[in-house]
Amino acid sequence: MLIVFYLAAIVAIISTLFAVTRSNAVHALLYLIVSFLAVAVVFFILGAHFVAALEVIVYAGAIIVLFVFVVMMLNVGAETEKSNDRWLSIKSWGGPAILAFILFAELAYVIFTKESIQTDESIVAPKQVGISLFTTYMLGIEIAAVMLMAGIIGAYHLAQIKKVNRHRFLGGEE
């Protein structure tokens, strides 16, 4: 199982790197999907079966489909790819890379100085996840629900089609 874990982790890291560096948006999204699937495998091995399933259903299956959908509608061609390539010059990624490196160093410091937590690899049943969601993390769930509701109302408002009356004489009476 340990080998599978490290294999999945390596696949996740490599595919995420490709997802960042590809200049073709759809190819980048494909690598992102692979990355999500690899992370799902990692979750599965750690015993969080329910989270693994949700990772595939929600992230790989729904959110990225929406991304691909939007990218397809934008009709990006060779020109966009060129401009994306320009963004990959040292000038533009140098600054963020330094900042990210500081964060990475901090993370590594924390991981190596603190006692690492050993996961006991016990399998978490879906029922346990449900119970903890509706007791311990009740408040978080409710807040997320309110946020989603706000999102839906906002989307409804933005997508609403205003009725236009094109009649020569009756127009402008609304």
């Binding site: 190819h27 259903i57 299956g61 729904a62 879906p126």
Partner: protein
Amino acid sequence: MSETLTYILIIVGVLVTLLTVAAGNIYIERRLLSLWQDRYGPNRVGPFGILQVVADIIKIFTKEDWIPRFADKVVFVLAPGIILVTILITFAIVPFSPDIVIADLNIGLLFFLGLSSLGAYSLVLGGWASNNKYSLLGAMRGAAQMLSYEVFMGLSLMGVVMMTGSFSMVDIVEKQKEVWFVIPQFVGFVIFVIAGLAESHRIPFDIPESESELVAGFHSEYSGMKFGMFFVGEYLGITLISAIVTTIFFGGWLGPDFLPPLAWFTIKVFGFIAFIILLRASLPRPRYDQLIGFGWKILLPLSLINILVTGAIILSN
């Protein structure tokens, strides 16, 4: 015989059976369709025309497999594989009989939902990589349709999950010893069949394909065996939906003792395949906006009410 060897035998057996059934479905569909349309159908090659499928397969293998110059080659080649792979993997959780099940996961049902949502990529990427207006339109319709119907597909099954108290397919079948879930969960069953048809984009929900307006939709540019894979994927999809409906709502392998469990399962699955073909023979294709509107305005509230009522009844007992 060691346990590992048994599993390998089961896996190979399931794989070979499924591919045969998928090819056989083409023959069954053509014969049944012609029966209902009052004509003969394929009846020349072999007894009752049963070798017609073999002839078709030989033909499709020898056709020129052309990749358009303007296509995105890697994605173009990748797309038809995705649908076959996702559907074949999903069969791992289907319990064919008490002994023949590849993986009895405790998240079985979620595994099915996750992989069926990954199947959408096949169609979306195929349409996008073809770099053709009609293909892209088909792919976009397909993405919207599958994304919407996934939601009700998941919600319609939650009633069954609540009554069983588990996502495991074997548990769900065992729970139906007294009464099949189609009776207490009839609303869920109807919604699931509709959503399942939409997920496998069959007539009447073949809007990504709609050959009367979009040439052949998302697979307009595909030829040879790549088209063949989309085609076989569709028939595998029908088999999968039939198998899942049988398992979840019609008691899976359960049945009177005079036939073995596997036989009951097979009979039920083929009954559903015939039903889906009958739907194709009898229903027209709705308009795109009608389909999406029907889903969000009728199926979504219905499935939510179904969950609410099921929950209330379970709590009151």
